[in-house]
């Protein structure tokens, strides 16, 4: 008669070792994942607001360079931070004049043309101020802009501040 071979199971020791290892891995995993998640959130946020800042600045800069110096008005939307709006006239390629306005409304940067409703340029705007270093010299305007985005549940905030002086050419 053939004796059926006994199937060899795991010993208690082996099982406990496996459970212990699994336990360690399982307890460490959420923290690791959390860290990776936060990191990626933060770097994505940073990247995005930096991109925003650069794009917004160069957008404003390009527009402002072509402005008619005498037409520039700096003020703000009602209830918005001081001097967060700039309005000016500029020549279009076809020679006609258009009135352009960059302004902050809430945490959004808008661009409006000819008084129409503004188009959104960027989110996460924390601070925007247009200043004349000296109000009797209308050829230099300084733009200071800060973007901020809170990331993971009130965790670290990504910040990007940029300052640029623009010479108004006309």
């Amino acid at each position: 008669m053939v004796t059926p071979r006994r199937r060899k199971g795991y010993t208690l020791m082996e099982l406990m070792v496996v459970v212990a290892i699994l336990g360690v891995i399982v307890s460490a995993a959420p923290r690791l994942l959390n860290g990776i998640y936060r990191f990626s959130r933060l770097s994505t946020a940073r990247l995005e607001i930096q991109k925003n800042a650069r794009a917004a600045l160069s957008n404003i800069n390009r527009g402002l360079r072509q402005a008619q110096a005498s037409s520039v008005v700096i003020d703000q939307l009602s209830g918005m931070p001081p001097h967060s709006r700039i309005t000016f006239d500029r020549y279009k390629p076809d020679g006609s004049i258009e009135t352009v306005s960059y302004y902050q409304a809430g945490k959004v940067l808008y661009l409006s043309s000819q008084g129409a409703t503004g188009k959104k340029v960027a989110d996460d705007l924390r601070y925007l101020a247009f200043t004349y270093p000296k109000s009797d010299d209308e050829s230099i305007i300084s733009i200071s802009v800060t973007f901020e985005r809170a990331t993971y549940e009130g965790g670290a905030k990504a910040l990007q501040m940029a300052v640029e002086k623009v010479r108004v050419m006309n």
Binding site: R5, R7, K8, Y10, E14, V17, V18, I36, F39, S40, S43, R46, L47, Q50, R54, S70, S71, V72, V73, I74, D75, Q76, G79, M80, P81, P82, H83, G106, K107, R126, Y127, A129, T131, Y132, P133, K134, S135, D136, D137, E138, I140, S142, S144, V145, T146, E148, L159, Q160, M161, A162, V163, E164, K165, R167
Partner: protein
């Protein structure tokens, strides 16, 4: 049956196999296999996490670059916004060695470096501003800051930052032209010919001495021409091998022709030989020899050709090695006398008294065994070597080895070649060193050491030797030779001859030495001799400098040249300096300046030591240790100093105002008023003549008077006058804080001499009417470091307002702060704000 069905059949067979084995236990996964699998998976996971790092760096790279680009552009804009003369040329520079070997040069003064943190990266922003001119090839020629204004400045902005562990930089260049520049409306031209023969001289440099940036080099036809600003100039023609020539002072409006004839320098030859005496030598060796009393005496005599006394006791020792033996120090058991005098002797012996040639000589130090064997000792002895060394560090001073050729035995060590002996060192034989190549001469000290034992040493029998050995009490003997200074550099200050090198024997022949009498220099790199004055008046003269000893130590390179006035005459007693080392010119204006090896800036009339002349410099002169850098010539122009005062109201000084001095409409020099408001313009550009002195002010500032016109005479220290500047600026600066932390998001700051009203207080709308109004508003946003700096017109009391916006939800809350500040011109007032 096709391929497909065959494969299927095989598969079915395999599947059947499995099902047939179903009764036996399936092999499970063992713990080891599981762990291996886990390990492999975790390697994969770790790799993925690691790649985050690379992705992040990939993102950071372009970000750093574009931020740096913005910063560099901003600086260029700021500089271009300034008036031409307010863009100050770099006067002191340094190199950023983080970028070695491509270190870039940057301005240390007067512009300096800025550091700033943008987007979490620390950037360093630097500039380098140079005077340049366009050259015909399309490139730029750059000039020292001391050269008069060229009408064109090159601005280079560098922004560097650390990315990971490597340094990165962005570099932007721009040119600034002087809008009011004087055109190069005038031109000099002419030919340069050799006197007597009339042959055109190619490669002669013709330079306007009043503006070294205006020059030309003659072509193959000897023709030169160059453009310059209308004005007064003296031209100088120089070419190595020719006496220089100088033109009269021309006042040029359009064109001027001036031809030069240059006289070729006539030359001769100076010969001689160069010697070094820097170490003790072994002058006699005697092996085991029976003296009168039947004692086996042996001794080694040392001679000191140097000019100083050496301590022997405990400091100098002997080593001995015979052919086939071990090298070992000879154990001195008693030093009787401690020192060896200059040009004197010292006697090591294995006996207290050496008897030879009918005399008894006391040993200076003794050992007590028979160490140096002779042929007569048998056993194939007779070839060996003795070494003189410094005990402290084992440095070898001298070695003498001798062969025994009949047994094919070579000295165990030697200099170049062991002393060739057929049967080796014999009893009664003395190995002596010669005083010179001419052979034995008992009148001179045995100092001849060509580092070749076979050349320098001779074996003499005791009958023929003539003189007994000497000890430290014996009379000193004069030195004739020494060690030949092979390869030593030989040069003279005649500015015609180039340098030559001494041969292996120490002899040299310096050809093409100009007629006249010149100082001869011989340098071995570490030792130097100014070998006296030699020369001749006839063409083709030949003089001998004899044996020249290199005795003084040197750690320098040498720069030579001539300092002349604009008339071409040599100027005596002019201080020439480089890197803190100085010398004065001789009667004919020539100088030789010992300079630290490396690249040097050489100054003539250093620190305007002679106030009748201006200081000029030559940058990038390379001095190499022991070598000569010739033809660093200078032409000094008479000059003086201009000084004056800048004030806001006649009482208070106004610092940091650049003041320029113009001659013929060209800026010759500038200076910045100090904290006391005084400025001093002097140095290379400020020659004698009539100057217009003009302060370089910011927009909105007005000077009274606008210009001082003065005439400066040689050596004069002239007070130009006072500029009263109205409308000058001061600074408001400070920090902005929320609680204790700096606000990094930006705060709007306004300053005005009027009052801003309203509830809440908000800044006024700035439109064309506001800008044209009499009330001026100054405004700035604080930076990412929580600081602000606001330039305001000096001499007023300001109301200063600051607005900080917070976002408790999506609606902004603006909180103003207000204070007052009184700012004087040139003053910086600190006002901090907190919320």
């Amino acid at each position: 049956m096709g391929l497909m069905s065959r494969v299927l059949k095989a598969y079915r067979a395999a599947a059947g196999g499995v099902s047939r084995a179903a009764g036996s236990p399936r092999p499970g996964v063992t713990l080891v296999e599981l762990m291996v699998a886990t390990a492999i998976i975790s390697i994969g996971v770790l790799g993925m996490v690691g790649s985050f790092n690379y992705i992040n760096r990939g993102i950071q790279g372009p970000k750093g670059k574009s931020l740096a680009n913005n910063l560099a552009q901003e600086k260029i804009e700021v500089l271009k916004n300034k008036s031409y003369f307010r863009v100050l040329v770099s006067t002191a520079t340094d190199f950023d060695h983080n970028f070695d070997p491509n270190a870039y040069e940057y301005d240390v003064a007067p512009n300096g470096s800025e550091t700033m943190n943008v987007g979490g990266i620390n950037f360093t922003r630097r500039v380098l501003i140079k005077k340049v001119t366009e050259v015909s090839g399309g490139g730029l020629a750059r000039f020292a800051y001391t050269v008069p204004d060229t009408g064109l400045k090159e601005v280079v902005v560098y922004v560097s930052w650390l990315e990971g562990s490597s340094w990165k930089k962005v570099e932007l260049r721009n040119l600034l032209g002087n809008p009011n520049r004087t055109n190069l409306g005038a031109a000099f031209s002419g030919t340069v010919l050799e006197a007597g023969t009339g042959i055109p001289i190619e490669g002669a440099i013709i330079r306007a001495q009043e503006n070294p940036a205006r020059y030309d080099i003659t072509d193959a036809a000897g023709v030169y021409s160059f453009a310059c600003e209308p004005g007064q100039y003296t031209l100088q023609a120089t070419k190595p091998g020719y006496f220089q020539s100088v033109s009269p002072l021309y006042t040029i409006e359009t064109t001027q022709v001036h031809d030069f004839t240059l006289t070729r320098m006539v030359s001769g030859t100076v010969t001689g030989s160069a010697w070094l005496r820097d170490h003790l030598v072994i002058s006699r060796i005697v092996g085991s020899s029976v003296n009168n009393s039947g004692y086996y005496q042996e001794y080694v005599e040392i001679y000191n050709p140097t000019t100083w006394t050496w301590t022997v006791n405990g400091d100098i020792g002997l080593k001995f090695q015979k052919a086939g033996g071990e090298k070992a120090a000879i154990g001195i058991d008693l030093y009787i006398r401690d020192t060896i005098p200059s040009q004197g002797y010292y006697l090591f012996a294995n006996t207290g008294t050496v008897s030879a040639v009918g005399a008894n000589v006391d040993a200076d130090a003794t050992w007590d065994e028979n160490i140096i064997p002779v042929v007569e000792d048998g056993g194939g002895e007779g070839s060996a070597a003795v070494e003189l060394y410094r005990i402290s560090d084992g440095r070898i001073l001298d070695q003498v080895g001798w062969d025994r050729n009949n047994e094919g035995k070579t000295a165990p060590f030697y200099e170049t070649d062991g002393y060739d002996q057929d049967i080796g060192l014999q009893m009664g034989e003395t190995f002596v060193r010669h005083p010179s190549a001419a052979g034995a001469n008992s009148f001179y000290g045995p100092a001849y050491d060509t580092n070749d034992n076979d050349e320098d040493i001779e074996g003499v029998t005791s009958a023929a030797i003539g003189t007994p050995p000497s000890n430290s009490l014996s009379a000193a003997k004069p030195v004739l030779t020494g060690t030949p200074a092979a390869g030593a550099l030989v040069f003279a200050n005649d500015s015609l001859s180039s340098s030559t090198q001494a041969a292996l024997s120490g002899s040299f022949s310096l050809a093409s030495v100009a007629t006249g009498y010149w100082t001869l220099y011989i340098s071995s790199g570490v030792s130097l001799s100014t070998g006296g004055v030699y020369g001749g008046t006839a063409s083709g003269f030949s003089v001998s400098a004899g044996s020249v000893l290199l005795s003084s130590d040197t750690a320098f390179g040498f720069v030579s040249g001539r300092v002349t006035g604009t008339d071409g005459a040599g100027l005596p007693g002019i201080k020439v300096a480089a890197g803190g080392r100085q010398t004065s010119t001789l009667a004919d204006g020539r100088y030789i300046l010992p300079a630290d090896p490396g690249e040097q800036t050489v100054f003539a009339n250093y620190q305007t030591d002679n106030p009748d002349y201006i200081e000029i410099s030559s940058a990038g002169v390379v001095a190499s240790l022991g070598a000569l850098t010739p033809d660093v010539d200078f032409v000094l122009v008479t000059g003086g100093k201009l000084r004056g005062w800048v004030t806001t109201n006649g009482t208070d000084p106004l610092p940091n105002v650049p003041v320029s001095a113009f001659k013929y409409g060209i800026e010759q020099g500038n200076s910045i008023s100090g904290n006391d408001g005084y400025y001093l313009i002097w140095g290379s550009g400020i020659s004698t003549g009539t100057y217009e002195v003009v302060p370089q002010l910011e927009a909105g500032e007005t000077p009274l008077p606008s210009t001082h016109t003065v005439t400066l005479s040689a050596g004069e220290d002239l007070f130009v006058g006072t500029f009263t500047v109205s409308g000058a600026m001061g600074n408001l600066t400070g920090s902005v804080k929320a609680g204790t932390a700096g606000i990094t998001t930006g705060v709007l700051v306004y300053a005005t001499s009027s009052t801003i009203t309203g509830s809440p207080v908000m800044p006024p709308t700035i439109d064309a009417a506001a800008r044209a109004g009499s009330v001026i508003y100054y405004a700035v946003s604080s930076n990412a470091q929580g600081m602000y700096t606001l330039p305001v017109r000096g001499g007023y009391t300001y109301n200063v307002y600051a607005w900080y916006t917070t976002w408790p939800n999506d609606t902004p809350t603006v909180t103003p702060r207000q204070t007052t500040a009184t700012v004087a011109a040139g003053e910086t007032v600190v006002k901090d704000f907190s919320w």
